[in-house]
């Protein structure tokens, strides 16, 4: 047991050296597709109806997807509609499982994705290799992109810059509370939520957190949850009656009715035989 403890400490030290730098100060690290061959990304063959509509350019804003609560299953949808998405790896932790032949180590990657103008996404992925985990986490982050509502602290001059009201989000024991701040305050938050809020496009905010914020996973999920709630808060602007519109599936039913050609070319994706 003592040996194992020593081993683990050693491993952690090693990883800390290797990835601590990457986790904290890595700004220019991973952007878009750099290592893989260029052709793979352009050959997206959509599998879902929404994917087809996005590829054809019938859906231009992600807000149309949010309006009808359509589940987004292909990350290329988000990539196409929200072009300015930047991603950042928040942390890579090694997690271990005990087997009778030693420990089985996997790497858990936390990635935050955002365009700095009202859209954030958070992805968590665990995989046997770091690169796979990061790639997977980026994809999951893009799938989970949500809109962030921004408002004013006081006078409604200029674009919205802060949270519209006091909101709080919780994950595990960590609660994060965001309070509107006057222009010029900047993001008053710890390093981790500050990153998330910058990606969201919030310029000024006061935050307060509670619980075990050391657990980065829960801390980051709590701020994400908090940001999701900004659009869940009913304010008088939403008191007017909603004018329901046709879902894109109904609107473009003729287009979707046409059979797709070339669906047999499925080299990049793995198909699961039902």
């Amino acid at each position: 047991m003592a040996e194992r403890g020593g081993e683990r400490g050693g491993e952690r030290g090693g990883f800390g050296r290797g990835f601590g730098r990457g986790g904290r100060g890595d700004r220019g690290g991973r952007r878009g597709g750099r290592r893989g061959p260029r052709q793979e990304e352009e050959k997206w063959v959509p599998v879902t109806k929404l994917g087809r509509l996005v590829k054809e350019g019938r859906i231009n804003k992600i807000e149309e997807i949010y309006l009808h609560s359509l589940p987004v299953k292909e990350h290329q949808i988000v990539e196409t509609i929200v072009p300015g998405l930047k991603d950042e790896v928040m942390k890579i932790t090694p997690v271990q499982k005990q087997t009778r032949a030693g420990q089985r180590t996997r790497f858990k990657a936390f990635v935050v994705v955002g365009d700095g103008d009202g859209h954030v996404g958070l992805g968590v992925k665990c995989a046997k290799e770091v690169a796979t985990a990061i790639r997977g986490a980026i994809i999951l982050a893009k799938l989970s992109v949500v809109p962030v509502r921004r408002g004013y602290w006081g006078n409604k001059i200029g674009p919205p810059h802060t949270v519209p009201c006091k909101v709080t989000g919780k994950c595990g024991s960590v609660t994060v509370r965001m309070v509107p701040a006057p222009r010029g305050s900047g993001i008053v938050a710890a390093r981790v939520p500050k990153k998330v809020l910058q990606f969201a496009g919030i310029e000024d905010v006061f935050t307060s957190s509670r619980g075990s914020t050391k657990t980065l996973g829960n801390f980051v999920k709590a701020t994400f949850d908090c940001l999701m709630k900004t659009y869940g808060f009913l304010t008088p602007e939403f008191w007017t009656q909603t004018n329901f519109s046709m879902t894109p599936f109904q609107q473009f039913t003729d287009l979707l009715g046409k059979p797709t050609k070339g669906l047999v070319l499925e080299a990049p994706t793995e198909t699961v035989e039902a």
């Binding site: 599998v47 879902t48 109806k49 009808h68 609560s69 359509l70 589940p71 299953k73 292909e74 879902t247 599936f249 109904q250 039913t253 003729d254 979707l256 009715g257 994706t269 793995e270 198909t271 699961v272 035989e273 039902a274």
Partner: protein, 308 residues
């Protein structure tokens, strides 16, 4: 309303009343001994033996509502009709055939509506089910995919995630067939394919579930009839008649006959024990191929005797 019409009807029944009579005959109104609280509004009364009686007028109204929703979907291929239960499978297939929808009979593979990597992945606009309890898996998945659901709900059916529940008996074979037949007819009427008030030439019986043995018997009887009609053809085409009888499945009605009557090949050639009118021609043919040519020589004679 149905009672009044049946009792003192000197005038002809309206189509709605006829439908309700048909539903009564098919036992659509019989629920179960338990009642879900959300189904209470459709229940008329509880019988002395504990069975809840469903108000068929409301069933008819809900059928109309469901039909309107179905008609509102521009592309009928986007509708999926499903039944895991055997009693509903034939009805579901026929319904899909006449309305242009897509039928899934038998097991619903989990992930059909949610797993985009599956080959059977589909994103329907509407889902029609025979029983929310046995078809609970598609209900769960449609909830994840924003798919509205219509289901035939019995008095004890859970209504969670069911958007339009049609109160009806979904346990009996005639009941399920009747309901799908009515729904199909309503849809076709609303689309304008059938004129309202006219009888639909497709029979309700087509939607009823048949046991495999029953199916064979029926096909046996049905095939003997076309045989008689086609005899003139055979007499004229003796040359290729031999070929036809040697191969196992040239004409569809022949195959099941071969299966049924293969059990009694021996007494056949002589015609013993069989009525002259009914037996000789098809039975001779299905006797082992060796006898076929000789059988054909004999064939024209017995038929001549039998038919005159």
């Amino acid at each position: 309303m149905a009672a009044a019409a049946g009792g003192g009807a000197v005038r002809a029944l309206s189509q709605k009343e006829q439908d309700i009579q048909m539903m009564l005959a098919a036992d659509v109104h019989l629920g179960t001994k338990n009642c879900d609280f959300q189904m209470e509004r459709y229940v008329f009364k509880r019988r002395t033996d504990g069975i809840y009686i469903i108000n068929l007028g409301k069933t008819w109204e809900k059928l109309q509502l469901a039909a309107r929703v179905i008609v509102a979907i521009e592309n009928p291929q986007d509708i999926i009709v499903q039944s895991a239960r055997p009693y509903g499978q034939r009805a579901v297939l026929k319904f899909a055939q006449y309305t242009g929808a897509h039928a899934i009979a038998g097991r619903h593979t989990p992930g059909t509506f949610t797993n985009q990597l599956q080959t059977s992945f589909s994103e329907p606009r509407l889902l029609i089910l025979t029983d929310p309890r046995t078809d609970h898996q598609p209900i769960k998945e449609s909830a994840l995919g924003n798919i509205p659901t219509i289901a035939f709900c019995d008095t004890d059916s859970p209504m969670r995630y069911v958007d339009i529940g049609i109160p009806a008996n979904n346990k009996g074979r005639n009941s399920i067939g009747c309901l799908f037949w009515l729904l199909a007819r309503m849809v076709l009427q609303m689309r304008g394919t059938i004129l309202p008030g006219h009888k639909w030439e497709v029979m309700v019986d087509l939607f009823f579930y048949r046991d495999p043995e029953e199916a064979k018997e029926q096909e046996g009887e049905a095939a003997v009839a076309p045989e008689f009609a086609a005899i003139t053809d055979y007499q004229g085409a003796d040359q290729w008649g031999g070929d036809q009888w040697t191969s196992d499945v040239p004409v569809p009605p022949v195959a099941p006959i071969g299966a049924d009557w293969g059990a009694a090949p021996a007494p056949v050639p002589t015609g013993d024990g069989w009525d002259q009118a009914g037996a000789p021609v098809p039975v001779d043919g299905t006797v082992p191929p060796v006898i076929a040519p000789t059988g054909w020589d004999q064939a024209p004679q017995p038929t001549a005797q039998g038919w005159e």
